[in-house]
């Protein structure tokens, strides 16, 4: 355990190294560039760390996959338009059960947009491929969680072999504060190609993601979906605040949830019966816990820095499980401060 003062982007690099990451391929894009540059500086000192700045994000994603196939705990980081380009490789990783970790610093969009506040890359990150979105998405809210969930992302990815994401933003990446580095146990990476033990037995692998028969693909896909559902209860995480007796339950995630947390505490001081439900895994979503949380609520409200992406997930999870009135406060690609969240809570209650 080691308590330090650090900035978000440094914390992410530290967590990756603590989790055993040994290779990074990327392409600079604000606000995730510091991760690439931070890794380069570490790799310059520690020759066991592989670093590759590629020609674009498409190549970054595919070279990362190459590293993972070769047995490295390889990862990448990107944002906005780079996240779009990376979907090509991420879809391949999803199809081949390649445990890639990707840090996404969401940008305001569409297009080039802005670089500080945004929760608009939720759909892209969770479902950006031509598939079913068999992906794990963590949404950390503060510096400590940035460390904890980056660390966890590597564990989850290599344990369950689904592409795993840390969905963050420029604000969190630039946040400066106290963090505890508490390196835990990590799972080892094994090569999918050139596993010498296997080859010495005369066994070779031929890995593919292209099928000529529909039923061949269906078999693979159904197994992946089944594995994903089996994994889900073990992996879902959430935070609840004052949900027990709340008349109004606010749903929020990531750094927006931090602001809502402060607002809910202020509202409670004013004796307002409000609670916060904050999924930490956005995929898979802690659906059962969400349903349980709203059982007694008369109203629910979704607050996010996007125009209803998270709200769609929430409504889908709660469909048929509640009669509560529904409210929303959407500020696509803008920051949300505790005072305005409190105002919205007061309006609704």
């Amino acid at each position: 355990m080691n308590k330090v003062l650090a900035i978000g982007n440094e914390v992410v690099v530290e967590a990756a190294i603590d989790a055993g990451a040994s290779m990074f391929c990327g392409y600079p894009i604000t606000p995730s560039t510091e991760i690439l540059a931070g890794w380069a500086k570490r790799a310059d000192v520690d020759k066991d760390l592989v670093f590759l700045q590629t020609e674009d994000e498409i190549a970054a994603g595919f070279a990362t996959i190459g590293g993972i196939l070769a047995g490295k705990k390889a990862w990448t980081a990107s944002a906005g338009p780079g996240n779009i380009l990376m979907q090509d490789s991420l879809a391949m990783a999803e199809a081949m059960r390649i445990p890639i970790v990707t840090y996404i610093a969401q940008r305001g969009g569409p297009s080039t947009g802005t670089v500080i506040f945004s929760q608009q890359e939720l759909f892209l990150t969770a479902h950006g491929g031509n598939g079913e979105g068999m992906r794990i998405v963590y949404s950390p809210g503060n510096l400590q969680e940035l460390y904890d969930y980056t660390f966890k992302a590597f564990d989850a990815a290599w344990r369950y072999r689904f592409p795993t994401f840390i969905l963050s933003d420029g604000y969190l990446g630039k946040t400066f504060g106290e963090v505890i580095y508490h390196k835990g146990k990590t799972i080892d990476a094994k090569p999918m190609l050139q596993d010498k033990e296997r080859i010495e037995k005369g066994e070779y692998v031929n890995i593919r993601n292209c099928y000529s028969l529909e039923d061949e693909l269906a078999e693979v896909l159904n197994k992946d979906i089944e594995d994903f559902h089996k994994m889900s209860p073990k992996i879902v995480e959430y935070e609840e605040l004052y949900c027990g007796d709340a008349e109004l339950i606010v749903f929020a995630h990531g750094s927006v949830a931090e602001a809502v947390k402060a607002a809910v505490s202020m509202a409670r001081e004013q004796k307002m019966k409000v609670g916060l439900f904050r999924p930490i895994t956005l995929r898979p979503l802690p659906k059962e816990a969400m349903i349980k949380a709203v059982r007694k609520a008369k109203k629910i409200m979704v607050i996010e820095a996007a125009h209803g992406q998270f709200a769609k997930l929430v409504r889908d999870a709660l469909f048929g499980a509640t009669q509560a009135e529904y409210y929303s406060y959407f500020k696509p690609a803008e920051g949300i401060v505790p005072e305005e969240a409190l105002e919205k809570i007061q309006e609704v209650l």
Partner: protein, 240 residues
């Protein structure tokens, strides 16, 4: 020509059309793998295109990737495991259209991998549309009557030869002369094994299905190609 011992026997005969040039290139690569004794160390990384039909062609660790992306995957594998001998296999569409950026930058960075590109002047897998290698006035599925073709097609190896510090191994062979093609492939792989950096071989190949040619017509077509695309090892100044 003996059957390479690294062939995966249970997948033969392979899935290519009868008379396909891919079969000849892959046979030469198989023999090269045998002769260099690298079956256990080789990684074969294939593109989408008719090359995907080779996903289970060899008893060699193999990964099939996305269209145009086999070069960056190969680069990542080599960076992750420098002891492996990484051979990327792609069509001319995969190498020169959708994947050109990665091909050039891998040469520029002197990535220590070998890329083999099969030039059949068109996109065979999707039914024969024009590629950057389609010859002037060539009729393809997307150049009816030979219209819409380029005045001069892309010269991949010559282009790559202009990149980087010059210490690249680059050659263009043809399935009309398999032994010379094999020699180039072996030299390219040896270049990698000696840690000298990027190596690239283009193989002029035959696609009777999309050319709509019989055996004789195919070799006549190949002859025309050999007039457009100069065979040989290619130096930095573009000379052979």
């Amino acid at each position: 020509m003996s059957v390479p011992s690294c062939y995966k026997k249970e997948t033969k005969p392979a899935k290519f059309c009868p008379g396909c040039g891919h079969s000849i290139v892959l046979k030469m690569l198989g023999q090269a793998i045998d002769e260099l004794g690298i079956q256990k160390d080789a990684v074969f990384s294939i593109d989408i295109g008719c090359s995907l039909l080779a996903w289970d062609f060899y008893d060699v660790d193999t990964v099939q990737t996305h269209h145009g992306r086999t070069t960056p995957v190969a680069v990542g594998i080599k960076r992750g495991n420098p002891k492996s001998v990484v051979i990327a296999y792609t069509g001319d569409g995969g190498a020169y259209a959708i994947g050109l950026q990665s091909l050039l930058h891998s040469a520029l960075r002197q990535e220590n991998v070998t890329v083999i590109t099969v030039n059949n002047t068109l996109y065979a897998m999707t039914g024969g549309q024009a590629a950057p290698t389609t010859m002037p006035h060539e009729v393809t599925d997307s150049t009816p009557n030979g219209d819409f073709t380029l005045e001069s097609p892309l010269m991949g190896p010559e282009l790559v030869s202009q990149i980087g510090n010059g210490d690249l191994y680059i050659a263009r062979g043809s399935v009309s002369n398999p032994m010379t093609l094999k020699k180039y492939i072996k030299k390219a792989i040896t270049h990698q094994m000696e840690g000298k950096g990027f190596s690239f071989v283009e193989a002029l190949s035959i696609c009777p299905t999309n050319w709509k040619t019989d055996a004789k017509g195919s070799f006549e077509f190949l002859k025309t190609m050999e007039e457009v695309y100069k065979l040989g090892e290619i130096n930095r100044d573009g000379t052979s």
